[in-house]
Symmetry: C2
Subunit: 354 residues, 2 copies
């Protein structure tokens, strides 16, 4: 039976990306070698790395604007640390919008002084704080664009006179934004980009080199930039699969095209949540995420029935995170509209039954 994969991450990838990456494991580039067993210094792989790096910048509209792209390892969790090591000299401002922001703050605090410019912790992070100040003498401002666990998403970003750093792990490449407002963007691949195992980092080069500490090589963005993202052996397969996904997105029409589909999917699920009396949304309406819709049953007695119906319809991985409970529909770029339609039909059918 066809599965509708709503996994929060690692999550669904386009079928043609899966097919090509599966083929490349048996025979990459018609060269009778597997993508897993070639040197990362081979021309075939250097081409992959360069194509992935330039596609990332191209799709975000950042080519020729002083930005460079890196494919590193260690996930966003390593970026929490690298951001602080590379940019934090005296003080940084963090917006606390949920678990991931919290972790970023925790890792940065190890080194220097970190200040929460705003937080929605008081309401279990069901909204995005607004109207906070970002002191102009801070080293940088850090925010999380989309909060997978709580289903909130920043629709606007503050005007910021200091470097703005954004963790876009769960919504990069999903919507049009003026990406030049950011100075550093990072994103674990495993939502909109590729398999777990690589992290895209986009850096405006001129923000680097301003801290006094000695930065260990693997933690130093300048070291990775100077080696074109090949300071050490990169995660070859994860980079290749990410490149395939970026090509898929480009062929589709880039971010403007996928944004339309993402808007449709979000409108579909949220209107069902709002109109169906059996469900209530978790996130504040104005801050609802187009990537992760969080909702609960009004009456938990229906849980067993609903879960059985979901299973019968092939709806997979709809469980909410334990901090919120209920359900979470993760609707990343590769999730087809059809899967959301199936989910909404099940929700609507439950109303008829109940």
């Amino acid at each position: 039976m066809k599965k509708h994969n709503f996994s929060a991450g690692p999550s669904i990838l386009p079928p043609e990306v899966l097919l090509k990456s599966s083929e490349a494991i048996l025979n990459f580039n018609n060269d009778n070698l597997s993508i897993l067993e070639i040197s990362h210094r081979s021309k075939s792989f250097v081409d992959v790395m360069e194509r992935a790096r330039s596609l990332a910048l191209e799709l975000l509209g950042l080519e020729g604007k002083g930005y460079k792209a890196l494919f590193l390892q260690g996930g966003a969790s390593t970026q929490f640390l690298m951001v602080a090591l590379n940019l934090l000299e005296k003080r940084a401002g963090y917006l606390n919008t949920g678990s991931w922001s919290n972790k970023a703050i925790k890792e940065a605090k190890i080194f220097d002084d970190v200040y929460e410019v705003g937080s929605s912790e008081n309401a279990n992070y069901n909204y995005i704080p607004k109207g906070y100040d970002i002191p102009a003498d801070y080293d940088y401002f850090h925010c999380t664009s989309n909060n997978t666990i709580f289903g909130t998403q920043m629709k606007d970003f503050p005007k910021c006179s200091i470097p703005m750093v954004c963790d876009m792990s769960s919504d990069i490449f999903s919507r049009q934004l003026d990406f030049t407002q950011f100075d550093l963007i990072y994103a674990g691949a495993q939502k909109n980009l590729g398999p777990a195992g690589t992290t895209l980092v986009i850096i405006k080069e001129d923000i680097l080199g301003k801290v006094s500490r000695h930065i260990p090589s693997m933690m130093d963005y300048k070291v990775h930039l100077s080696k074109s993202s090949m300071f050490n052996t990169p995660p070859v397969f994860a980079v290749y699969t990410s490149m395939l996904t970026l090509e898929w997105l480009k062929n589709l029409g880039g971010i403007p095209a996928i944004e339309k589909v993402n808007d449709l999917k979000a409108r579909l699920i949220y209107s069902e949540i709002d109109l169906n009396p059996l469900f209530k949304g978790f996130a504040s309406k104005e801050d609802r995420s187009n990537m992760n819709a969080t909702f609960n049953l009004v009456n938990d007695d229906l849980k067993e029935t609903f879960d059985t119906m979901l299973k019968e319809a092939g709806v997979d991985s709809l469980n909410g995170h334990r901090s919120v409970g209920g359900y979470r529909a993760s609707m990343y770029n590769a999730l087809p509209l059809e899967s959301v339609q199936v989910l909404v039909e099940v929700m609507s059918e439950l109303e008829t039954k109940a």
Copy 2:
């Protein structure tokens, strides 16, 4: 045409591992989902991680002896840093046997005092230093068991009263050793274990917790151990493929079985190097690596002819590293004896021609 893949890394993997990992990208566990798009918290993947961790310990004979295995990201280059962060309080002793040892020393020096207990730099690392002292009041001793670039390999390890840390990236699982003599072993997967993108770390737990510094979460072995190697999203596919390779090795008869084949391959290539007057070996005979045989043509005028013959025979990636020049035959676990036979035939044919 069949390729004989002598790549130094990322390198050859067993055909059945490639086949299974390719299939899992389309349909993992007959569950109609790709291994790339399932949650790392799903039972299917937790089982993979646990099986990979326990197979690693089992094959090394370390089960039930106070050791734990982790599959991390960032390569050996990140371990250079993590080892120092987790273990270095006052002073550590490093054996300098080549480029990788050098890099490990460089990263450790950032923090504290590091002392080279021995070095073969004076002879471009063509031998393994012997008879050095390891002060008993040092925090740990660090060595590199096999030096891919220079083709040397430690046959014996010093008796050591302090924790012994070993970078086994390029020869782990290739030969029988008393692995209990080591307290921490690390190895980038991309030689004998799996694709680039994960690093196996084996730790004797009782050596941890003895430094006074605060260790950032992602750099802290205790954090990763406390979360069973799932502190953050692991590199799912690289861990899965590593598990498949460990299963392949176990089915083959484990390290004793593969060691026999590796010995045969090494004897074959080295006897050709020694008997064929056109070639000379680079590494000191007693320290020759069973994984990477380094050799040069006595007369470089034959290079073009030899390279053409290699190409015609399907011998791939035999170029030596620029620090040594000439040729390097990397003969990791998955390289069949047949490939070495083909190479040796070409070398021998060159002698007839010349």
